[in-house]
């Protein structure tokens, strides 16, 4: 698992990564009531706002963690956005993307670095 400073986690499987938000971020957000997912086959660049999470309190963006293409989105979140809070590391994933350059993953935090980041 890799982590961004914006509290996203990335699970790596070959050149495909699955992206979600961390338990820490989910707890900060509170009750999620709506998720706007990216379009399939969109080419995204690091830092692009590609998804929106609406909690009762506020809207927050999910940023593309790396350059690549969106190849799958978690359609279950449309019907059940609460999954983000209930299972952020599992059923609450947001999208999968095919990464252009896997070496860019090296710039992200590992578990220990992330734990220090939120400490």
């Amino acid at each position: 698992m890799k982590y961004t400073e914006d509290h996203e986690w990335l699970r790596v499987d070959g050149d495909v990564i699955t992206v979600g938000i961390t338990e820490f971020a989910a707890e900060q957000l509170g009750d999620v009531v709506f998720v706007e997912l990216p379009e399939l086959e969109t080419m995204v660049s690091t830092g692009d706002e590609i998804a929106v999470i609406e909690s009762v309190k506020a809207a927050s963006e999910i940023l593309a963690p790396l350059n690549g293409e969106i190849i799958e989105v978690n359609a279950e979140l449309t019907d059940n956005p609460a999954l983000v809070g209930e299972d952020p590391l599992g059923a609450g994933w947001f999208f999968k993307m095919k990464v252009d350059d896997l070496s860019t993953l090296d710039g992200l935090m590992d578990e220990e670095e992330y734990q220090n980041h939120i400490a």
């Binding site: 509170g30 009750d31 009531v33 709506f34 929106v52 609406e54 009762v56 309190k57 506020a58 809207a59």
Partner: protein, 373 residues
């Protein structure tokens, strides 16, 4: 820096209790306030609608207006600051009021109670300092304007509030909506800002921790933060000062003409004579150009404050409050729309993150209020 910021914030008298209860604290109007407790906004909101919620609203201003002469003289002076029938409010009764400026804009909204030999006023936290200066500038000839600094203010709201409070403060169940009374050291009104039946209770600082504990000891009561207070008042269609109303909005535009009683309207016993009367009475006669309206967004995406309403690529209105209504299980909002489009059922288009989003004008309150009249 963060520490400095925290130190600069005023602490609520119940700060220790909020921390003990696991509240997430955030700055609001110069105070460190509980936004939510571990249950979260959604559960806190539902709990208030189904049982009883305890809110710490000690950040709000409590003010006494003590007449130098008689109450009637003070009432008439107060009426020069508000388009409200102050004189008709009998001892033991409270009313919603609006301080207006010379341009007819709203300086603050407030509650004022006639307590026989003085008025007790509750004002918004962010407006407190300005309100005190305004009241002193205009009422000092006829009253002493005294800020109450030795009392906390709690709100107990929800269908179980009556039974809970009656068990602790006998006699309160007999109060009707907008009644006020003094019970020992407690100043109690049957009111609140959630759309629910309930009470606001002013408590001496040295008693407030024990009193809050006694309320929380009842299993029907849960502590509720500012997050749920906001979603509750939004579902109830109530204005939040600084968002839905401010110095640029008139009471007529804000759809608050119900707060302007007949006596102060054109043809009334004490017509006009209040700050901004020219504009306010003119708008009541001719209709304002815009109106605050209830808005129900299509779909599940909330439309929040600042989202623009668009027609033919022109901005025709704006959302002033919006979010997710936990009781309604759907997004709700309010905002200003051209008066011609303020009719229930009118379909409008909002621009949400650059995309067109349908929204329709709806009746308010979104959730029916349950005041015990």
């Amino acid at each position: 820096m963060a520490e400095l910021m925290t130190n600069a914030l005023q602490q609520l008298p119940l700060a220790a209790l909020h921390h003990e209860l696991g509240a997430k604290m955030c700055p609001f109007a110069g105070y460190e306030m509980p936004i939510n407790y571990p249950a979260g906004v959604m559960k806190e909101h539902i709990h208030t609608r189904t049982h009883a919620g305890l809110f710490d609203v000690s950040h709000m201003g409590q003010v006494l207006l003590q007449p130098k002469g008689d109450m009637e003289t003070l009432a008439l002076a107060f009426e020069r600051l508000m388009p409200v029938d102050v004189l008709a409010v009998k001892p033991g009764r409270q009313r919603y009021g609006l301080l207006t400026n010379e341009d007819g804009g709203i300086l603050d909204d407030l509650m004022f109670a006639n307590r026989d030999d003085h008025y007790y006023v509750v004002v918004n936290a962010a407006c407190k300092t300005a309100d005190l200066a305004h009241l002193r500038a205009h009422l000092s000839d006829v009253a002493d304007v005294i800020e109450v600094t030795d009392r906390a203010l709690l709100a107990l709201q929800g269908p179980d509030a009556e039974a809970v409070l009656e068990a602790i403060v006998p006699g309160t169940a007999a109060m009707r909506f907008m009644d006020v009374g003094v019970f020992g050291d407690l100043w109690i009104s049957r009111s609140g800002y959630t759309g629910e039946d309930g009470f606001e209770i002013s408590v001496p600082l040295d008693q407030v921790t024990a009193f809050a504990h006694s309320l929380l000891a009842d299993t029907r009561v849960q502590p509720i933060g500012l997050g749920a207070r906001d979603s509750l008042r939004l579902e109830a269609g109530l204005c939040l000062y600084g968002h839905d109303i401010d110095t640029t909005t008139s009471p007529v535009e804000a759809n608050l003409t119900w707060a302007i009683q007949k006596a102060r309207r054109t043809g009334g016993a004490r017509e006009g004579g209040f700050a901004g009367a020219d504009r306010i009475l003119r708008e009541m006669r001719d209709g304002p150009s815009r109106l605050r309206a209830g808005l129900l967004p299509d779909g599940r995406a909330p439309l929040r404050e600042g989202v623009e309403l668009i027609e033919n690529e022109q901005v025709i209105g704006r959302i002033t409050s919006g979010g997710f209504g936990p009781t309604l299980e759907r997004p709700v909002a309010m905002g200003y729309v051209p008066t011609a489009k303020a009719t229930v059922g009118t379909e409008l288009t909002a621009s949400l993150r650059g995309r067109a989003q349908g929204v329709s004008v709806a009746d308010m309150p979104f959730f029916p209020n349950r005041y015990k009249r």
